[in-house]
């Protein structure tokens, strides 16, 4: 197990390095720089500013400086908001984004699995059709469309939920629904199809022949087997939820990391771009690693420490 973790860690570092390099290349090839704005500045001032942010150095020096900032986890000050460091921004934005992300995952996984199980148990019945209609709608409607629809109905027409910002649990409801519906629909469909397959297995019949209660058979015997494919797509879903937060945070005016990420790219705020990208990537990579670990707990036949574990 330890060997596996070390190996995975090495892979994670390499992955992160590739992401950093690609981000750097994209960043410097983007036209414009954080310091050129409409208003003209004195040439000496401009040169001094560039020197201050090391923007006058050749690219390879800049690149190395970025690598250094990442290794030391000190991204320096934001160019656009010189009073704050990138670490300040991350420290303020991340807990909010994390809250939204976690709420989304919990809602999506629990409701998706429950919906999938009921659909499978009532196969080709009304509940099945209803659940799958919800699922198809959930997959088809993009989260930003759903978000605006929610605001229009729940906030504007009925005025039962606040339309924006992030100050109480009530504020979490709409963004979470908007973000969770897509992943929930995918999980529901997947759970349904694997559940249908698992329910025809001999060991389910055997469990029935033992005289176990139906719900016990579902929870203990069927669900654990049916969840494997769900765990497999969790990685992709996490990435989707993560990128979804950029848009949803914008729509609902949530002061999370997504806001800084999008703004930083528009403003060419290099240290913030680097900081947020690295942070998001590292977070996603760690989550994917945890998903892989989860396999071993669900299915004892999967051994992480042997070859082919990754």
């Amino acid at each position: 197990m330890l060997g596996y973790i070390l190996k995975r860690f090495a892979v994670m570092v390499v992955t992160l390095w590739i992401i950093i390099t690609l981000t750097f290349v994209l960043m410097v090839t983007l036209p414009g720089s954080p310091l050129n704005e409409e208003r003209t500045t004195n040439e000496t001032v401009q040169a001094n500013l560039e020197a201050h942010y090391n923007l006058d150095e050749p690219y390879y020096i800049q690149y190395l400086l970025y690598i250094k900032s990442i290794v030391t986890f000190d991204f320096g000050p934001s160019i656009k908001q010189p009073t704050e460091t990138v670490n300040d921004l991350l420290g303020r934005g991340f807990p909010i984004s994390f809250e939204l992300g976690m709420a989304t995952i919990i809602v999506a996984v629990i409701s998706g699995i429950i919906l999938g199980i009921f659909a499978a148990l009532k196969h080709n019945g009304i509940i099945d059709y209803l659940a799958m209609t919800i699922a198809v709608l959930g997959i088809s409607i993009p989260n930003f469309v759903l978000a605006t629809l929610l605001i229009q109905t729940l906030a504007v027409y009925w005025n039962i939920l606040p339309a924006a910002t992030w100050s109480s649990p009530v504020h979490m409801i709409m963004p979470t629904i908007a973000l969770a519906t897509g992943p929930m629909a995918i999980i529901a469909r997947l759970t349904r199809s694997t559940m249908l397959e698992v329910l025809t297995q001999d060991y389910i019949k055997m469990a029935r022949a033992k005289g176990l209660k139906p719900w016990k058979i579902i929870i203990k015997h069927a669900l654990k087997n049916a969840l494997m494919p769900v765990v497999t797509i969790m990685g992709t879903l996490l990435a989707g939820i993560l990128t979804g937060t950029f848009v949803i945070e914008q729509i609902f005016g949530i002061p999370g990391m997504g806001k800084y990420f999008v703004e930083s790219i528009n403003q060419r705020d290099y240290p913030v771009i680097m900081g947020t990208t690295v942070f998001y990537s590292a977070f996603l990579i760690v989550m994917l690693f945890l998903v892989d670990i989860a396999y071993g707990f669900l299915d004892p036949r999967i051994k992480l420490h042997t070859k082919g574990g990754d």
Partner: protein, 335 residues
């Protein structure tokens, strides 16, 4: 001997888009305490459906017990609710499945799968249940039960898994064990071991066994009585001796001829030509007519009456009718 199970005129149908399949069409047999009854027949003859019907494990819909009774110790199981059946399954009647590779849940330890039935029905603590489980593992011949208890199915070989399946089936001390092709998925050497295990278990616990198989070799080894099924009906039944040495139904004779024999030099395998009838619309006469070399006109039109050749030996065939002999003789004259 005390009768433990009495199946009377059992009919099972399955509704499909293509029509209604009459899988079991009036099956009657009984089973005594401590006896081993073999149900023999080719694929699709209704032997597994019959056993699933006894356990009430036929998915409804599409399946349905449309007629008949299944009396287990005087109580008619067809009248039981699913909830009431749960207190019978695994406790009074247990079942062993064909393929031990798929019958055990890959994500749960052997121990968990052994004790859960006991904990469910006898409300024992896990520790007590474990003790009993280890006892059972010993009985079915699993070495190092303490260590094996914690392992998962994929760490067991096929034969060992079937032993576990048997241990699970027997852990609540059932009075009736239904074994559906328990050796079909195993190597021949392992088959022999498992059959011996059945014999030992029956000696020690006195459990009655219904053995469902298409392998007459298995039957010859452990069955006391044999029921031969064809196209959803029992066409012949008798003791092991009666069926093996004095088969009367042409189908039973055909089955016996199609078993490979090592004791007769140069003996050829004689397969039965043709396929069983379509059970969407079963023939009104004897379903074997189309494949029977002795078929007469009457066979196609009317299902034969049961003839009792002895107290135990019964056969459904027109050849047992007094008039048949004359007809066969006449036919022989013509050729």
């Amino acid at each position: 001997m005390e009768k433990i199970l009495e199946v009377n005129d059992l009919h099972v149908t399955f509704s499909t888009f293509g029509g209604t399949v009459q899988a079991v069409r009036g099956v009657s047999f009984d089973l005594h305490k401590g006896e081993t009854l073999a149900i023999v027949g080719e694929s699709g003859c209704g032997k597994s459906v019959t056993s699933n019907a006894i356990m009430r494990l036929i998915p409804d819909p599409p399946g349905k017990i449309s007629n008949g009774t299944i009396e287990f110790k005087g109580k008619d199981l067809t009248q039981f609710s699913q909830k009431a059946m749960r207190s019978i399954r695994g406790v009074d009647i247990s079942m062993i499945f064909q393929d031990p590779m798929t019958a055990l849940n890959p994500t749960l330890t052997i121990g968990t799968q052994l004790v859960e039935g006991l904990m469910e029905h006898r409300k024992t603590s896990r520790a007590e249940a474990k003790e009993r489980a280890l006892e059972m593992m010993n009985l079915v011949g699993i070495p190092n039960p303490e260590e094996r208890f914690k392992q998962y199915p994929h760490q067991f070989s096929g034969g060992m898994r079937q032993r576990i399946v048997i241990a699970i089936a027997l852990i609540c001390e059932p009075e009736l064990l239904i074994a559906d092709e328990p050796t079909t998925a195993l190597d021949v050497t392992i088959q022999a071991q498992i059959l011996e295990l059945f014999e030992t278990i029956q000696e020690q616990t006195g459990v009655s066994i219904i053995l469902i198989t298409h392998d007459l070799g298995v039957v010859a080894k452990i069955a006391d009585r044999i029921v031969v099924m064809y196209a959803g009906k029992i066409i012949e039944e008798g003791t092991r001796k009666e069926i093996f040495y004095h088969p009367e139904h042409p189908y039973t004779k055909g089955l016996l001829k199609s078993v490979p024999r090592l004791d007769i030099k140069g003996a050829n395998l004689i397969p039965i030509d043709g396929t069983p009838p379509d059970l969407f619309s079963p023939p009104q006469g004897c379903p074997f007519t189309a494949r029977c070399s002795m078929a007469m006109e009457v066979c196609d039109k009317v299902y034969p009456l049961q003839t009792e050749l002895s107290d135990t030996h019964k056969v459904d065939c027109w050849l047992q009718d007094d008039r048949a002999e004359q007809l066969v003789a006449q036919a022989a004259d013509k050729t």
